[in-house]
């Protein structure tokens, strides 16, 4: 009988082993096709909202020959946004002090795929109602921006580059005591820990950054891209 009992155990072991291991983690790719499986009430509820959105936000704005990617330390999208803000304010104008643009990568919320860009794409890029602010920054405070950029790993900027821990501003002369920084009201008020802007002279505008991006894109028709890195540690 012992022999037969052993047969039973061996048989049980052989067949049971395949079920011994269960992974504690897995990524499961599961395709759910919306149409058949979706609650029709949910579709019906959503429909008027989608219709409104498509009517109001599907308008064509511009095209881009290649994707604009949001990526630190520097990317074509970050460059394009900063250039758009700078050129919207400085094109065909002369200033007695250097003007740079400094935004925050965290304030840009979406990349662009190649092809047509709609109004909705620009709302996804800049969903916040942030407004343009001019900040009068003493040259002595540039070192604080440099520390910030070293730590953050790169932000959108124009008319300057960050090289080896230093902010290089081509138009800055030794005779300058101040520069103008174009930024958002959120950052000018110390948002994203940009505390170097606090307590400085500011000139508020009522211009939404999003509107600057849309207008610039419309004027360009096909976005003018610059993928050259503006940041190296």
């Amino acid at each position: 009988m012992i022999k037969y009992f052993l047969y039973s155990i061996v048989g049980a072991s052989l067949m049971a082993c395949s079920a011994c291991f269960t992974p504690t983690f897995q990524i499961e790719a599961q395709t759910v096709v919306g149409v058949q499986n979706t609650d029709p009430e949910l579709v019906e509820m959503l429909q008027p909202y989608q219709d409104t959105l498509h009517t109001e936000f599907d308008a064509f704005v511009a095209a881009t020959p290649e994707a604009l990617v949001l990526s630190r330390p520097s990317s074509n999208l970050m460059n394009w946004c900063a250039d758009a803000v700078l050129s919207s304010q400085t094109a065909n104008k002369r200033f007695s002090e250097p003007v740079i643009c400094l935004l925050n990568a965290g304030g840009l919320r979406s990349s662009f795929g190649a092809g047509k860009l709609t109004l909705a794409d620009f709302y996804k890029l800049m969903p916040f109602d942030n407004r343009l602010v001019w900040v009068h920054l003493p040259v002595s405070k540039i070192s604080e921006i440099e520390k910030y950029l070293s730590k953050s790993g790169g932000e959108p900027m124009a008319n300057c580059v960050f090289v080896n821990g230093r902010l290089q501003i081509p138009s800055l002369l030794s005779s300058h005591d101040y520069i103008w920084v174009l930024t958002s009201d959120f950052l000018a008020n110390g948002g994203d820990q940009m505390n170097f802007f606090l307590g400085l002279e500011k000139q508020e505008t009522n211009i939404l950054l999003r509107d600057i991006f849309i207008e610039t894109a419309k004027n360009q028709g096909v976005l003018v891209l610059d993928a050259q890195s503006r940041y190296s540690k």
């Binding site: 047969y7 048989g11 049980a12 067949m15 504690t24 990524i27 499986n37 919320r109 110390g190």
Partner: protein, 300 residues
Amino acid sequence: MKLTRRKLFQKFGLLSFGLLLPKWLGAQTNRKQHPELVILHTNDTHSQIDPLPANHSKYPNQGGILARAAMIAQYREQHPHVLLLDAGDFFQGTPYFNRFHGVLEMKLMSELGYDVATLGNHDFDIGVDGFMNAQQHAQFKFVNANYDFGQTPMAAVIQPYHIIEKGRYKIGIFGLGIDLNGLVPQSNFEGIAIKDPFESAAAVIEELKDAKCNLIICLSHLGYQYEDKSKPSDVLLAEQVSGIDVILGGHTHTFMQAPTKVTQQDGHTVWIHQVGWAGVRLGAIEVTEHKMNFLQKIIH
């Protein structure tokens, strides 16, 4: 040895029993492994109602509220005890939010049957009044334990924790939010004080233990981990505060390849999980008596 019919019957009868036994044992094992509870979770959905576009560089055609709803419904059909949770930043990111000011997100989360959500920093993007207006359409609970809502109207609709019973589980769910200073304009959270998240967590966990909860979940919008290791994060929370079983995180948009396991000094295990952003993943934790299976479902 000559086999008699009786001996032959005995021998093959036992062998057959031996072969059938594992199937029976397997059936018992499978029965035991059938999840007693399924915890579904999202974070940082950011008003992504439609799927991401076909030319999206990383997640083309993924996400979308209808596909998410279908996946959740499928779970509910298969399992009697399903929890649906969100770790914050359900607002902001698409024109749906700019146009409808969070009302649609609240309606849809209610339709999908969310049980509990915590708040992310972007859920303050339309200020206290904006949030209060949108939340009128929410048929689920909001939790946060480290914001003191003071005299603001949010105090009436956001509790430190919420307890839900599912099967033999009494689940205590509490929320933690990130320091809003520097992330959200001051005017958007006027009257709200930010408290130490770890001290707040420790206090609320005591209450949940007193209430005999046998599963404690933290919905965290602190962020997974930072270069500055001293900044409050999910990993630091798991290391420093005892009593949490699962931290479902958000804020850092982290696509985790596996859940993080943190073993505390007393041997207690804390699991941390987060599912990226934009609703392109649905986290699913299948809970049995001694095990949790963590899955990330690609919503497509």
